[in-house]
């Protein structure tokens, strides 16, 4: 069963459109100089909408922790159990986090602290989903 596919809405469409072009974007409030992800209608700091823009990210990050899911409530994920649920902190602003299943990394072998970079998985409906892979030097 394929994984659940995001259905973009007006707020999230810029993000998914950027993903489709191979770019990972987050919101930024130019007044507060503050990044925001997931997107919200207003800046959570100043409460204004008009200074919110979309900016590209480095696409690089660090694994800050993980869980391994053995019994999910999401039906589409059941056949893939157990699977990794890693959390990625964005390199230029570690408060900004992303999810990753770290495809190819065995469960219980998630290297916390390791560097990762984004890539995109093709889903249905033309959606490209950000995923992360280990950076090997």
């Amino acid at each position: 069963m394929p994984r659940p596919v995001p259905a973009p809405d007006p707020l999230s469409k810029p993000f998914w459109d950027a993903c489709a072009q191979g770019k990972l974007m987050v919101q930024k409030c130019t007044m507060c100089d503050r990044k925001q992800f997931p997107p919200e209608a207003t800046c959570r700091n100043c409460g204004w909408a008009f200074n919110l823009t979309w900016i590209p990210t480095s696409g690089r990050g660090t694994i800050v922790g993980y869980s391994v899911t053995y019994d999910t409530r999401i039906n589409a994920w059941v056949p893939d159990q157990p699977f990794n649920n890693a959390v990625i902190a964005l390199e230029e602003d570690p408060a900004i986090k992303f999810h990753s299943n770290l495809p190819g990394v065995k469960v219980n072998e998630v290297p916390v602290g390791a560097k990762v970079e984004v890539y995109f998985l093709d889903l249905e409906d033309g959606i490209k989903l950000p995923e992360w892979k280990l950076v090997h030097h």
Partner: protein, 130 residues
């Protein structure tokens, strides 16, 4: 000739929560016919043991859901089967080389037909021993 039957409890056995269709009488019949009886359930191990003690059926193993491999390693049998009501039951059975019946299939006691004059039908279908 040893055949192990591993029962899930909740949703599978009549004493489960929710109750399943397989009665303790069916389990007893299997036990008296010489099958090795075990349980593999999300119930606490002490609760599983208490259940078998209450029905006076000597189970050869009690396991949590992730411990089916331990059961397989600990108990020597010619064939292994798990009976359960959830996708995870089917999943763990497949991963550990257990044949699988759904709870609703179990009510017809399909295991009773396993012992043929020629031996045992294994989960893979081939006839072992003879």
């Amino acid at each position: 000739m040893a055949i192990l039957l591993s029962f899930d409890i909740d949703g599978t056995l009549e004493v489960g929560d929710p109750p399943g269709g397989i009665t303790m009488e069916m389990v007893r019949r299997a036990y008296e016919a010489g099958y090795l009886i075990a349980s593999c359930s999300d119930r606490a191990l002490s609760s599983q043991k208490a259940m078998w003690a209450r029905y006076n059926i000597p189970a050869v193993f009690t396991a949590s859901k992730h411990q089916l491999p331990n059961m397989r390693a600990a108990i020597t049998a010619d064939a292994y089967y798990h009976i359960g009501d959830r996708d995870t039951d089917e999943q763990i059975a497949a991963e550990n080389g257990f044949g699988f019946w759904w709870n609703h299939e179990g009510v017809s006691e399909p295991w009773l037909t396993l012992q043929t004059p020629h031996g045992v039908q294994t989960p893979g279908g081939e006839d072992v021993s003879g």
